[in-house]
Point group: C2
Chain length 179, copies 2
């Protein structure tokens, strides 16, 4: 990720990001959610969180939350994530970076919907802190257009942006409103 000064950093995991994004993913039929961090203590923390909600007290307390958190995986790198998706889908995914910054050559949700309809797995990358590092965006197969509202203000939380993008994908798939 980058921080507010544009420096490449490793961001800390935010508990609510994992919950909210997993819940939205479960709602919209996403196959898996990967939390990618090279930090071993953060990986252990996520592991405890997943265990609590899928097997521990949380699973009994809130079975609906369990359904969502069951989608959550831990990966140490993007390479490891791609390998896991490839093994599961039996083909390599296309990596689609997301960014709040306008840039040339972005694709829209309709395009991703077409690719999904063509049976090509799509791996959406969401950044925390001040967004994905430039080298991650450069390594992606495509960049999704920013979520824009009614003006130039463009500072959604990653939780909100992910929810909106999954909803747009649901309703724009195949180039038409599916509702």
């Amino acid at each position: 990720m980058i921080n507010r000064r544009g420096e490449v950093i490793t961001s800390a995991v935010t508990n609510l990001d994992l919950h909210d994004i997993s819940r939205a993913a479960r709602t919209y039929g996403v196959r898996a959610v990967f939390c990618v961090t090279p930090l071993e203590d953060q990986q252990q923390l996520i592991g405890r969180l997943i265990e609590h909600w899928t097997e521990g007290y949380g699973a009994r307390f809130n079975p609906d939350r369990r359904e969502a958190l069951k989608l959550l995986r831990i990966a140490a790198s993007l390479t490891e994530t791609i390998a896991a998706v490839t093994a599961c889908e039996q083909q390599a995914p296309q990596m689609v970076a997301t960014s709040a910054r306008p840039q040339p050559g972005t694709i829209d949700c309709q395009k991703i919907g077409q690719r999904l309809a063509d049976g090509i797995p799509q791996l959406l990358l969401f950044g925390t802190a001040s967004g994905l590092a430039p080298e991650v965006i450069a390594a992606a197969d495509a960049v999704l257009e920013p979520v824009v509202g009614c003006g130039v203000y463009n500072h959604l939380s990653v939780r909100s942006a992910a929810a909106i993008i999954l909803d747009r994908l649901r309703f724009r798939r195949n180039g038409e409103l599916a509702q």
Copy 2:
């Protein structure tokens, strides 16, 4: 609100709800966000949070966040909220409750968009905990259809649901995709 057992409760304020919903509101051109709680200590907590982000250190640290949190108001009741909106808009708003539970007679985002286009202020009510109390839903002028994804799973966070509904309102206004 109601809790998991369906009992009417007063829920605690979640800091990230205020941030995420204010940021989404600012993105989509919403005029104000009211956090409604009868608990005086919670009102004071929200007041400190607003002060920090609109006038204190937070405002200098993150001016974008300031833009969002400036929309946030505190109210002790729905009656007080309606009075504040009426004073500001010079007409009473229509109250639209949201709920994850399917129920007869709900309206969709296109209908709300039509009302906005007709110049009628719309006051969207979002619940925390396990949702709005039945008497709040009964007192509303209308209930918005639940956000559904690809199946029956329907357990989004209020932060995600609010972001999705504002995005749908933006793109369905006047009965057509505005993008």
